[in-house]
Symmetry: C2
Subunit: 157 residues, 2 copies
DNA sequence: TCCGATATCTAACATGGCAAAGTAATATCC
DNA sequence: GGATATTACTTTGCCATGTTAGATATCGGA
């Protein structure tokens, strides 16, 4: 690990200009990093809940279905996560008078506070590990952020 | 959508030289990509099982504990996943005569075949999405592979 | 009015993490 | 040699979070 992308061995055909080896490494690494991050609960909130909290902040007032689409998960997942956030008082679900099938989701003051707190203390795991990387590696990571974002942009589905 | 908490406009203090904004974007994106990849089941095999299959291929003959360390998960997780792979005939677990507490894990011919098949057909999701990126983005991603690998290198824990 | 479409929730299930406890083999110490 | 500790793995039980299928309520147009 930590080595440069190897030169494609003989017979490592490439698709769309990328060697199978690199594709595999990319896929494996991304999957694993996601797992590590997801298990990294900075606070009491799991990754899924934190992600949802931020999505609500960005989109509020918002319907559950839009949150599901935004997070790229199914509505039932959002429903359950929302219930958790509501239970602990971070999120508010109010009836929408204009369409009573939906509800209006928003952060409570406690939710907003929690969000800011997470934002400040969030960087623990990631920044700690980033600090162990060389400057070149960090630069490469930062340079790849837009590509990573585009990769999981649901608009590209 | 692919946007992330564009948080602190002003006063975006940096930790270890990286802005909070970038850290947040990185974390959110990596977590999400991992989720997407994980749900992307090439074949009947889940991400965790495919990952394990490849790890066995790389390390065989190998002990279960080493696989756990390599995958960065706990021994019980590996045991369960191994049992699944053994059940479907892709993996062999044999007693180690030199130390009967451990067992020697290796791929069966069917496992090796499956692995090659996955390798060939693996490129579905990732390469398809990569092909929608600009050349610069792809280059940035490839350049970031070593950094990504180092980020989740268990040796850095 | 009625009926299909829409938005959400409930229920049931699968996966895959974990920690704690159990089991068996090996190593150590007197 | 035999008691004890350590090691390696498995089993068990729990939790979080994803899914799909089906129920329910509402909306909106023919």
């Amino acid at each position: 690990m930590g080595t440069l992308p190897r030169e494609p061995a003989a017979g490592d055909e490439s698709i769309s200009g990328i060697s199978q080896t690199d594709l595999t490494r990319l896929r494996m690494t991304l999957g694993r990093l996601g797992r590590v991050l997801r298990q990294q609960n900075d606070d009491g909130l799991s990754y899924a809940l934190v992600s949802l909290l931020f999505a609500i902040h960005r989109m509020q007032p918002v319907a559950a279905g839009d949150l599901a689409a935004s997070e790229g998960v199914s509505p039932p997942s959002v429903t359950r996560s929302l219930n958790r956030l509501i239970d602990i008082g971070l999120v508010l679900r109010l009836a929408d008078p204009s369409d009573r099938r939906t509800a209006v989701i928003s952060l409570t003051p406690a939710g907003e506070l929690e969000r800011q707190q997470i934002l400040r203390s969030r960087e623990n795991w990631l920044s700690e590990h980033l600090s162990r990387l060389g400057g070149d590696d960090v630069a490469a990571l930062l340079a790849a952020i837009p590509a990573l974002e585009q990769l999981c942009d649901p608009a590209l589905e």
